[in-house]
C-alpha cells in the first residue's frame, strides 16, 4: 500500500503503471497522471478517499495491445471527491477494456468519471463501470460519461455505464454514446473546404486532447500531443 503525502502528485508512464492501492488521507488531495505509449497496462488500481479529501486521476492511453485496466475509487469519507478522465486511442487489432468504478460510501461525496475513446483499424474498445451510491450517502452527486467514436468499418466500441443507487437524496446522471462519424458533422466541416483527413483530425483532437488539461508535466503533455498527431 502506498500512502500519499500532502497534495501529492504521482505521474506514472508505461511499465510504471502497476497494481496498487492508494489512500488519500483526510483533507488532502492526490493527483494521479497515467500515460501509456507502449504495451497496454493490464492493471488494477484501487483508491480510498477519506473525509474532505480529493482524488484527481487522468489517463492518456496511446498504448497498443489488449487487456483490462481497472480503477476502483471508494469515497469513504464525508465530503470526499473523485475526478477521473480517460482518453484512449485503440488501433489495429487492440482489444482494450476499461473498467472505471466509483463507490459513494459517505455523505456529501461527489464524483465525475469521463471516458473518451476512438477506435481505428480492427480494434475494439469497451468502457464499463459502476457508479454506486450506498444507503446513507445523502447529498451525493455522481456523473458518468462514456463516449466512443468508431472511425473504421471493422473497428467497434461498447459503453455500458451502470448506476446503482440505494439512497434517495442524491443527484446521479450518466451518458453513453457510441457512434460512427456523424455524416452531418462531416458535411459541415467539408463544406468549409476542410479535407476528409483534416476533418477526422479535428474530431480526433476534440476527443483525445481535452485530457491534457489534467496533466501537470509539460514534457509529458508534449509527448501526448505527439501521440495524438501520430495516431491521426
Amino acid at each position: 500500500m502506498e500512502k500519499s503525502d500532502d497534495n501529492m502528485n504521482i505521474t506514472l508512464i508505461d511499465e510504471q503503471i502497476k497494481n496498487m492501492e492508494l489512500v488519500v488521507p483526510n483533507g488532502e488531495s492526490l493527483v494521479l497522471n497515467l500515460a501509456a505509449f507502449k504495451g497496454f497496462p493490464n492493471t488494477s488500481i484501487s483508491v480510498k478517499v477519506q473525509s474532505n479529501a480529493s482524488f484527481n486521476g487522468a489517463f492518456a492511453d496511446f498504448s497498443s495491445g489488449s487487456g483490462k485496466f481497472i480503477i476502483n475509487v471508494d469515497l469513504i469519507g464525508d465530503g470526499s471527491r473523485c475526478d477521473w478522465h480517460l482518453s484512449s486511442l485503440a488501433n489495429d487489432v487492440d482489444r482494450k477494456i476499461f473498467d472505471t468504478s466509483v463507490t459513494h460510501n459517505a455523505k456529501n461525496t461527489e464524483a465525475e468519471m469521463s471516458n473518451y475513446g476512438i477506435t481505428q483499424g480492427s480494434s475494439h474498445l469497451t468502457f464499463t463501470g459502476i457508479s454506486s451510491i450506498k444507503n446513507g450517502s445523502i447529498k451525493t452527486i455522481t456523473r458518468q460519461v462514456a463516449k466512443i467514436i468508431v472511425f473504421d468499418p471493422l473497428s467497434d466500441g461498447k459503453c455500458s455505464p451502470i448506476l446503482k443507487i440505494d439512497e434517495n437524496d442524491v443527484e446521479a446522471s450518466h451518458a453513453a454514446i457510441v457512434g460512427r462519424l456523424n455524416e452531418d458533422h462531416l458535411f459541415y466541416l467539408l463544406s468549409r473546404g476542410i479535407s476528409l483527413n483534416a476533418a477526422r483530425r479535428l474530431i480526433t483532437l476534440g476527443y483525445l486532447k481535452p485530457v491534457e488539461q489534467y496533466f501537470n508535466d509539460e514534457k509529458l503533455i508534449e509527448r501526448i500531443d505527439a501521440s495524438i498527431e501520430e495516431g491521426i
Binding site: H174, A175, N182, F187, L189, I194
Partner: protein
Amino acid sequence: MSALRKKQNMSTLKITNLHVSAKDKEILKGVDLSLNEGETLALLGPNGHGKSTLLAAIMGNPNYTITAGTIFFDNKDVLAMSVDERSKAGLFLAMQYPSEIPGVNSSEFLKAAINAHREKPMTLFEFYTKLKNAYKEMGIPFEMSNRNLNEGFSGGEKKRNEILQMKLIDPKFALLDEIDSGLDVDAMQIVANAIRDEQKKGRGFLVVSHYARLYDMIEPTRVVVMINGRIVVSGGPEIIQKIDSTGYEWIKTEMGIEIEKDEQPMNKVSIGVCATNARVNGKKR
C-alpha cells in the same frame, strides 16, 4: 471593351434540369437557374417545395441524390467535385440548422477552414487579428472562439457564426438558407450589413428567406419562386412584396399551378444516447 472582358470573366453558377431525391422521394423535378457574380438572387417558395434541397444539392450534401441534370460553376462540373472541392472552388453554404460539433474547437476549425483556401497557411498573428475583427464585426464575444463549434450557441448565435465563416472564407458565391430565422432586430441588421459588404465586393448570393424584411435590407437583383420542385416564376423585387402581402395563392389563380401540400417528415430519433438527471427530495425510504 473592358466591360465586355469583365463580363466574359464573370463567374457563373449554372444549373440545368436538376432532379434531386431524398429517401427515394423526388424533391427537385427539373430546376433551371443561373446566377452571375455580383447578383443577389432571392429564392422564395412555400415550405417543403425544395428551396433548401437545392442549396444542399449544390454544396453536395450526401443526404440528397442527384438523379438528373447538371451544375456548372465557371464551366467546371460541380457534381464531379467533392464537398471540400466545391468550397475551395468558391461556393459557400450558410446552413439553416448548423451542426453542433462536440469536441471541435471553434478557432481550430476556423483556422483549418481559412487555410484550406490558401496555398500557404496564415501566420498565427494574422489569423488572430482577422478572427478578432470578424468576431467584433459580427457582434459575437471573442471568448466564444474558444468554445466547441456551435455547441450551446443560441439560434441567433449560430446564424451569426455562419456569416462570420462566410466573411473569413471569402467565397465567390454564398448560398444563404434562412439566415434570418432566429435573429433579433439588431442581429438582423448586423447580418444584413455583412451581406451588403460582400455585395460591394461583387460576390454572388442565392438567398432563401420567407420574410421581406431581410430582402428589404439586402435588395436582391432578381427573384425566383420555387413551387413543386421547379422554378415557376422569375422577375424583379416586386414579387417579394406581392408574396409578402398576398402569399402564393396568386400563382395558382394566375398560372393554374396547383401547389402541393407540405408533408412534414417524422422527427429524427437518436438511439444510443442515454442520460438521466434526477433529484429526489424528501424523506428517506
